[in-house]
């Protein structure tokens, strides 16, 4: 057993940290730390800086612009991004459609899409979920009917995250309604400027506009935009969702939130000292820090296991526990903010949510919207219930 990183891995970490802290603009990292990133420009700027250095899409195949890193190096890269408040890369590009095109796409698709996807010159969104197909994704109904050189697409997608900034959407569509539901699905790329597409915002629990509904009526999509074989979409979807779960524990992110909670609690004075001297708060913090450490070691075990080419079935528990700990950290921050979390905006309803110009600190005003927003993490990417189901079937054999 050896729990230390090698000198080479430590050097790799130092090099990344140096790059992140000198090359990624400080104001972007500060906005990210405060939860106030500017979309889409902060993400585009960051991605393009990383891409110039060749580390925007390290998980892609090397010939598609990826890096020949060990699993531990990937882990360190993710960890250092989070600890230095470098914004997460757009998952739809870096984690989802990029690897799919690299793996299943033809040469023209690779040439056309991979460079612009890596550089975020083209912003993708995801068209998987539908009103009647959430966790039961294979029940999706959006139809694509072949008509000469085109598919004609009709239907509705939902929960399309950041779709308002997107140029293209990657979709699961039903191309054969007469077979077992998983067998009649295809993976299609659609330019959002195609006539017949309408995107409508969904306002969320925290007041934000993060997700959308997308409606398709007689949308004509060239057949060349089909990825892989017709009706092979479910295989591609499973490949994509497997990738989606890999980095989802977000231990580094939660670490920064707990460190922030501790710092803020130490700044809030009470009649007997600071909030950090309150044994209940100190205990919650210590408890969460410890649970997070246990998850981090577990993640390292999974990473080290995959270094030997073995599938470690513990990866669903990373999603299960990692998402819960993200929520717990946001909950603690909201509670530390306390009554100062009540104001969130001026009274003019026409203005976007931001913060109110009152004496309550900005971080406190953002605390409850963030807390509410993070209720999503045990729902998306396979809900906690789905993860438990995976553990039951794949690990425990129940």
């Amino acid at each position: 057993m050896q729990l230390r990183f090698t000198p080479e891995e430590e050097a790799f970490r130092t090099e990344l940290r140096e790059f992140f802290t000198t090359e990624i603009p400080e104001d972007i990292r500060r906005r990210n730390a405060e939860g106030k990133l500017k979309y889409p420009e902060d993400l585009v700027t960051t991605t393009q800086i990383l891409n110039r250095r060749g580390i925007a899409v390290p998980a892609w195949p090397v010939e598609a612009g990826g890096q020949d890193w060990t699993p531990v190096q990937h882990h360190i890269w993710r960890e250092e991004m989070a600890l230095n408040f470098v914004p997460d890369l757009l998952p739809f590009n870096a984690g989802m459609v990029g690897p799919v095109i690299a793996h299943f796409g033809n040469d023209e698709q690779k040439e056309k899409f991979l460079p612009v996807t890596a550089n975020l010159d083209l912003w993708w969104c995801q068209g998987f979920s539908e009103p009647e197909a959430g966790s039961d994704l294979a029940s999706l109904k959006t139809r694509a009917v072949r008509d000469g050189d085109h598919y004609v697409v009709n239907g509705q997608k939902t929960w399309t995250t950041l779709g308002q900034f997107a140029d293209w959407i990657f979709m699961l569509v039903r191309t054969d309604p007469d077979v077992k539901k998983q067998a009649g699905i295809s993976f299609l790329l659609i330019d959002l400027n195609t006539p017949g597409i309408e995107m409508r915002p969904i306002q969320l629990i925290d007041g934000s506009h993060e997700v959308n509904e997308v409606f398709f009526s007689d949308v004509r999509v060239p057949v060349e935009n089909l990825v892989g074989e017709e009706n092979q979409g479910w295989t591609i979807a499973k490949f994509l969702l497997g990738n989606e779960r890999s980095g989802i524990a977000r231990v580094g992110f939660t670490k920064t939130k707990l460190a922030r909670a501790k710092k803020l609690a130490a700044e809030i004075t009470t009649p007997t000292g600071t909030l950090l001297d309150d044994p209940a708060i100190a205990s919650r913090l210590a408890d969460l820090e410890n649970q997070l450490l246990a998850l981090e070691i577990t993640q390292l075990r999974v990473v080290a296991g995959s270094a030997n080419g073995k599938q470690n079935p513990a990866s669903s528990l990373l999603k299960l526990r990692g998402s819960q700990l993200q929520q717990d950290a946001m909950e603690l921050l909201a509670d530390i903010a306390g009554p100062d979390s009540l104001p969130v905006a001026g009274v003019d309803a026409a203005l976007a949510n931001g913060t109110a110009d009152v004496d309550s600190p900005v971080w406190a005003q953002l605390a409850v919207p963030d807390y509410l927003n993070y209720r999503k993490v045990t729902i998306y990417g396979g809900s906690s219930e789905v993860q438990r189901q995976i553990i039951d079937k794949a690990v425990l054999g129940l």
Binding site: L3, K263, A282, A286, N290, L293, I297, T298, L300, R388
Partner: protein
């Protein structure tokens, strides 16, 4: 970053597993734990023969020269099979104290006897009202004569000698070797809820031999950390086994005409038990690895034991609940595991005590880091 056991460690694990699983099923375990001694001399001799008793002592002292990782490997097997042999209480803990304090001749003599299985020691340290991490040591040593009462002496019932902590006239804590038949020593044996044994030991002007010079408090603290690590590994073995038993039961037991595993409410709780067991294993591994690096950090000990105690309680309680009525019986092993896990939790600090230590130190770090 390497979490796998070495080939030698795998061999060690398999050897111990084979000795213990052939020695114990639930009936034989009950038969042995119902004897006065509470454990088996026969198994003890087998363990001595394959070198387990001398595992952590240096070869110069007559041991195997292995380390904490190997001890954890063995303790996990003890936990998995609920083996009652007092490896920790009668050999490892007192032996490590002797190894750290005694002169060459005494050390080789005592540790040789421990390793061969002929000698049984016990560490008499706790006194009435002590509760981890507090240890008052009110027992006094005056010109080599000890007076005081030591409670909760793990396997003190069968020890032929004790390592007794006592306060010298200058206030230093010393460690004394005291024969069980020494004048003025009275021991009162007891059974524990997990079918183990212990004793209270009172001393009245009892002669003892001081091991080493100076204050032994740091040595005791380091051995305490080692013991916590061994207990964590034992708990991981017992927790993992409890989970396996429970999932096995869910698959085989039918109610309403179908296996219990088909009820999602139960299956999902089993998934949470799995998560608990894995988190405990991670922290125990982390703890052992840092000890193997020579880092006897009490904060890491608290981190590991907090998680291990939490997981053990969660898995143990759910294990009983999902077994239903059968889980309440002494005829079925799950109850024995829960009792042992509870005893481990109450030894050298439970989850609350360790969380209190971490909460109290929280200003000492900004962020918890590994490596």
């Amino acid at each position: 970053m390497e979490f796998d056991l070495s080939e030698e460690q795998v061999m060690l694990r398999d050897t111990v597993r084979s000795v213990l699983t052939s020695a114990y099923d639930v009936e034989r375990l009950r038969a042995v734990t119902d004897t006065d001694l509470g454990w088996s001399r026969e198994v003890w001799n087998s363990l001595a023969e394959i070198g387990i008793l001398g595992l952590v002592f240096s070869e110069d002292d007559g041991g195997m020269g292995a380390g904490h990782e190997e001890l954890s490997v063995v303790m996990e097997e003890f936990g998995a099979s609920l083996a009652p042999e007092p490896l920790l209480g009668s050999v490892v803990v007192p032996g490590l104290l002797v190894a750290a304090t005694a002169d060459d001749a005494t050390r080789a003599d005592i540790i040789g006897g421990l390793s061969s299985g002929e000698r049984l020691l016990a560490f008499a340290h706790t006194e009435a009202g002590d509760r981890w991490p507090h240890a008052a040591v009110a027992t006094t040593a005056t010109d080599g004569a000890l007076t005081g009462t030591k409670t909760l002496v793990d396997h003190g019932d069968c020890a032929d000698a004790f390592i007794v902590s006592a306060r010298d006239a200058d206030g230093a804590v010393g460690l004394y070797l005291v024969a069980a038949d020494a004048e003025g020593l009275v021991r009162t044996a007891y059974r524990t809820h997990d079918r183990r044994r212990g004793a209270q030991v009172s001393l009245a002007n009892t002669p003892g031999i001081r091991l080493g010079s100076g204050d032994a408090s740091q040595i005791i603290a380091d051995v305490e950390v080692s013991t916590q690590s061994a207990l964590c590994a034992e708990a991981v073995g017992a927790t993992t086994r409890t989970l396996e038993m429970t999932t096995g039961y869910l698959k085989s037991r039918k109610q309403f005409g179908v296996p219990l595993a088909t009820f999602q409410a139960l299956a999902h709780r089993a998934a949470d038990m799995f998560a608990s067991a894995e988190l405990a294993r991670s922290m125990s591994t982390y703890f052992t690895a840092s000890l193997a690096d020579g880092d006897y950090d009490p904060i890491i000990a608290s981190r590991a034991k907090l998680q291990v105690c939490r997981s053990a309680r969660h898995v143990g309680q759910e294990g009983v609940q999902m077994h239903g009525g059968i889980g309440m019986t002494a005829e079925y092993p799950v109850a024995h595991y829960v009792s042992r896990l509870t005893a481990i939790a109450h030894t050298l600090g439970d989850a609350d005590a360790h969380l209190a230590r971490l909460s109290g130190s929280i200003k000492d770090w900004d962020m918890v880091t590994v490596g």
